[in-house]
Subunit: 253 residues, 2 copies
DNA sequence: TGGTGTGAAAGGATTCACAGCC
DNA sequence: GGCTGTGAATCCTTTCACACCA
């Protein structure tokens, strides 16, 4: 996953595999687009293409939800939209709180797709007293001191952390203490949470690093002996080492 | 995860499994923190805890890179930092271009962790002529018309798309045509790219939906018969259906 | 006939547990 | 004695291929 994840002991939820759950939102998005174009039915092949997966996987995924298709015909678009929405819990309203209203927090508050499907930005919270009261995306920013009250008054169970990394764990602890049981973490930190609390993380720099890894491979594909820049130098206690490349005299950053 | 992904046919890169590659940045981050505290060596147990994984997984991951540890002692922090950096291709400089300088694009341009490790924001590109010349995070925004030139002049091979969903595929096509071979996509769209181009996606609403799924399960754990709100109504051609819950009279959005 | 639903096979990833080495 | 490195076992995910049915 996107993105790696700190998850609960993977008790397969109601029998639906985690990998399938992660794809349901993709299917839902593709189905919503079809629904808006008033397409009545769709085959696994067409839907799979729209969602960017293969049809066997899609059919297997849907088989965990139940038998919602019609052989020889395909799937009823409206019906599937509803079933997947319900399965994902999107038929109810989820108030979320965003903590840390810097550039990223403001971007999220303004993000339209946020509000679109069951999610509602119920509160914006920041530690800077100067921001208190200032509206961002039409919602007034509130101070961290009131975090507890804000969370419980709004019945928030999903929190989004967009603070600097140094503040993330503390904010996380306070959110959890106030009753939040799901956290979406944008801060580049490993959060530790008690049993029963879900954390998902979104980490730009990790994604870039993964891309760089593959990018590097592409570059070195024909020109195997690329210019590696720094000169090698021994620096490990033992004589053993990896496939190639040793320690340079000067550390990068 | 963060996150699902459109990836190339999973040719296991230089023998390093994809799941391992996705964790290397985590280890690197933990190691960098240790390095800054001048910690000389670390055991798999300690490092695993810092990175939020278990030690067996970490050791297995490292075994794909080579034998970098010392039995009975642990791993040399500096040495590992360098080896992982090199493996990830972070010993070289990666100029990236951000296309779509709205709230999110600006947030990324300002994001410090971006520049920290091998990545450099080389260009900001937007379709709005009014923005051209305006500096964001100290970098002047350039117009989409010049995309080709900007990409090639700066040697950009990694592009970040933060445009509205409607523009994403077009921008993607132009980036690829200009020579970009790795794309980080923040737009909620499935991008299609030619063979050899890597796409990773970061999708806020997908992450939230996954959290909502688990959140819903928690809520229904003791109170199995939750109030489901809308009344059920048949709407599918066949009589078969899933485990529970049918079509409501009114569709949710 | 055309396309779903699903057992069975194949492929990866994670965990176990311990040999091997410092 | 302590901790790494790794085969073997286990678990999860994906893919295959075809029975089944509107």
């Amino acid at each position: 996953m996107a993105t790696g994840r700190t998850h609960r002991p993977a008790t397969r939820s109601r029998g639906i595999p985690e990998a399938t759950v992660a794809r349901l939102p993709l299917y839902l998005r593709a189905l919503t687009a079809l629904s808006e174009r008033s397409v009545p039915t769709v085959s696994s092949e067409e839907l799979a293409t729209a969602a960017g997966v293969n049809s066997a996987k899609l059919r297997k995924d849907f088989s965990y939800l139940g038998s919602y298709g019609t052989r020889g015909v395909g799937y009823d678009v409206e019906y599937l939209v509803y079933q997947i929405s319900r399965e994902l819990g999107l038929t109810q309203d989820w108030p979320v709180a965003i903590v840390g209203i810097g550039n990223l927090g403001a971007a999220l508050a303004n993000y339209g797709g946020f509000a679109s499907r069951g999610f509602r930005v119920a509160a914006l919270i920041d530690a800077d007293p100067a921001m208190a009261g200032t509206p961002v995306a039409g919602i007034p920013v509130q101070h961290t001191d009131d975090l507890d009250r804000i969370i419980s008054e709004n019945g928030v169970s999903i929190g989004v952390i967009t603070t600097p990394p140094g503040a993330a764990q503390q904010v996380c602890d306070r959110l959890v203490a106030a009753g939040v049981t799901s956290i979406l973490n944008f801060a580049p930190t490993v959060l530790s949470v008690p049993e029963g609390v879900d954390v998902r993380k979104v980490d730009l720099s990790i994604e870039l690093q993964i891309l760089a890894f593959h990018e590097q491979r592409k570059a070195g594909e024909d020109a195997t002996a690329e210019d590696e820049g720094a000169p090698p130098m021994r620096a490990t206690p033992t004589g053993r080492k990896g496939p190639d490349g040793d320690m340079p005299a000067v550390m990068p950053a």
